[in-house]
Amino acid sequence: MKLSLASSKLALLLISIIPSLVLSTGEAKIDVRVQADIHSSMHMQWQKLSERDERYQQARVKLKMESDWILLPYGLYVELQTNDVNKMVALRIDDLISTDKKRTITKDQFYISINGGELYSAIEDLPLLSPNDRGVMKKQILLFILKVKPSNYAGSYAANFKFITNTLP
């Protein structure tokens, strides 16, 4: 009788202990779902450079052009960056128009040099950022060269520059 009672006590004691042990050795876990929507992003920043600017001078030193061409006394410093592999950026320049709107210098006379390198005609959009540049901050110095024709009139002209961002389908 006594033994059976002791057994009962032991049994009850064990029953009370075991659940605690189970909880202390295990973990209860709950998951919270996380969703992040990252959208396509494009950063474009530019700054006009005067011919006294150090960056202009660094590019000018490398530039090779004919003696009768005109290097404009200002350039453009451009920073471009994107996270999207399907994005690319090009620079488009329109025909130059005189301030009195009577004269035009067509863009086939206009050339651009990137960082003092080879000259690109402004007839076509100039690629500045390609899909291979994804994630990279591209910094470029653009110099502008005019191939003057005898038929061109002296004067003041205005130009429109446009950064064209394209998505590759």
Binding site: S8, L21, V32
Partner: protein, 166 residues
């Protein structure tokens, strides 16, 4: 008169008998055996989370973005001590060509604390004792993105683990 006395005597007798009965009953019962009684109070932990999903909307340039939702955690337990850990998985897209965002990009802050802790590993953020009244704790989450992160929908999990310490 006699009738009244008889009634009184009867009442006294009943009373005496009742008292005697009680003491007699008590005297009649002897302790034959004793049984130990143990009341088992099962251990429990209650956990409540205010939401089961948090979202980030990264529209601008890469940088730090805060989740649209906070997670309110309320824990109650009758255990001696308990702990709550938070852990994050990496965030990945369905496109195998797009690299996943490592868990180190996620960080959390508790209540009004301005400092965010990185979730690059499992982190203990809450502890309590038994008989402590449950108090909700708010967690805010932050995601850091870079220009190398391609556009897309990234998914993962933040796991809350509750541990009872004996």
């Amino acid at each position: 008169m006699t009738h009244k006395i008889k009634r009184l005597l009867f009442a006294v007798l009943v009373t005496i008998y009742s008292v005697n009965s009680y003491s007699t009953e008590a005297e009649q019962w002897q302790e034959a055996a004793s049984i130990a009684v143990t009341a088992v109070v099962a251990p429990y932990t209650t956990v409540k989370l205010s939401t089961n999903e948090i979202t980030f909307d990264v529209r601008g340039e890469p940088g730090e973005y805060y989740s649209n939702e906070e997670v309110e955690v309320t824990v109650g337990s009758n255990q001696s001590t308990w702990s709550v850990y938070v852990d994050a998985s990496s965030l990945s897209t369905n496109n195998v060509e797009i690299a996943a965002l490592p868990s180190s990009r996620l960080a959390y802050a508790v209540d009004n604390n301005k400092e965010y802790q990185s979730l690059d590993k499992k982190m203990l953020f809450l502890q309590g004792v038994a008989a402590q009244a449950p108090r909700p704790v708010k967690l805010r989450f932050r995601l850091t993105t870079t220009w190398q992160d391609a556009p897309g929908t990234y998914k993962g999990n933040i796991t809350f683990a509750f541990l009872n310490n004996p």
